[in-house]
Symmetry: C2
Subunit: 239 residues, 2 copies
């Protein structure tokens, strides 16, 4: 049994030739389906249909978001439920299976870890092909490099942003944003994007203290237009 983990960037415009070839050789795409209106599944269907590949959707297990203090355990339980759902399909259907990962599988995505768990239960060979990630599209839209010349970029989650700043990070790319708390960072520069690569994309850049109202309005607009909002941003300390 073969699984291919395919990064598809932020839509069909980012599907690389090697991912397209891999997808053409797959028998079906395995994906989760959220109980409410699932636009990400719809986006995966669009890509799969373009290459004539069927999508098999399994219901997304509930994720316990009540206990943020034990984030790793909540994620682990949710992964376990997803793995069980996938395993059921894989045992029932032959063939080469694709997982389509929005963005790139190497950043804040669980697919590789899920497939590692599946590979402990079933005789699976798997590989990974990269896709364009959200920080790269953010940088392209703002026409920036993610760091100053020769300096680092620290990529982290909103949950860990304050810790990174306290530890002296001056150039931070933030993913998995959830809410947007930038209090005390008014003099920092921000390059922000929501729903990148889609029709509801919004971009804002400037000094945090100056642009925050516009940014929050843009976030609301993106959510109203798409029914969901996913954003990413780069924060840089004043020089």
């Amino acid at each position: 049994m073969r699984i291919r983990i395919l990064g598809v960037g932020m839509g069909p415009q980012h599907v690389t030739p090697e991912v397209a070839d891999a997808l053409r050789g797959c028998d079906y795409v395995l994906a989760v389906e959220k109980t409410s209106d699932d636009r990400l599944l719809a986006a995966r269907r669009t890509i799969a249909e373009r290459f004539g590949v069927e999508v098999v959707a399994v219901p997304d297990p509930d994720r316990d978001r009540a206990d943020p203090a034990d984030y790793p355990r909540a994620v682990a339980a949710w992964h376990e439920a997803r793995v069980a759902a996938y395993e059921q399909v894989l045992r029932a259907r032959e063939g080469t299976v694709a997982f389509l990962v929005w963005g790139d599988p190497s950043l804040y995505d669980s697919t590789i870890r899920l497939v590692e768990q599946l590979a402990q239960r079933l005789p699976i060979e798997y590989d990974v092909l990269p896709g364009v990630s959200a920080p790269q599209l953010l940088a392209a839209r703002h026409r920036i490099v993610l760091h100053a010349v020769g300096e680092p970029v620290h990529v982290t989650t909103a949950r860990r942003l304050r810790g990174a700043i306290a530890a002296g990070q001056k150039n931070v790319c933030v993913m998995l944003t959830g809410s947007l708390d930038l209090a005390g960072l008014e003099d920092w520069s921000i390059w922000w994007g929501a729903n990148l690569g889609t029709d509801s994309e919004r971009l804002v850049a400037g000094r945090v203290g100056d642009v925050l109202p516009v940014l929050l309005a843009g976030r609301d607009e993106a959510k109203a237009a798409a029914g969901w909002v996913m954003d990413v941003y780069l924060l840089r300390a004043p020089s």
Copy 2:
């Protein structure tokens, strides 16, 4: 006058549909040519020819590598010479121009900064399209996520690696490697790749103290096979 900065990943297999469309609409590709055997130019020619676009190559200005203490100034002088060379071509030739960036323009690449300088001298409109970056291909080849669940990844240069570790970073992606000095990091884990995406690709993963000899041999092999070596790696502290 229009310039398009196009990320092409690690070769034709990564050229996204939107980059392909952009390239088809360009009149020529502008690129530098190194005095010795220039394989990166050859790779750019391969991509440009696939889309029927001419490559205009200008000699790469000498870069002063003698004074690493003043790295930003050395880079600035080299940029200035490149900008002057590009400006000469742009003044002589009409049309929409593409720069093909190996990997992605947002990480340790000078093209955006060069074009910003050109835009101060000439009436230029420009945009940027993302490509697959080396850290993403590294992660895909090793089938890993670049960070532990919910944790950060610190992306930096070999020059700044020691400083990052001293500051407490436990998960560091290193680019612009030059030489490879991992003394004292024997118990860390490494996922390493050289000449990723090419015929001379080499991969090594494991505990630094165990795999370093194999890794250094792989580096020499990659250099012997290709005539050049570019590597990237992820280092993770023992848990």
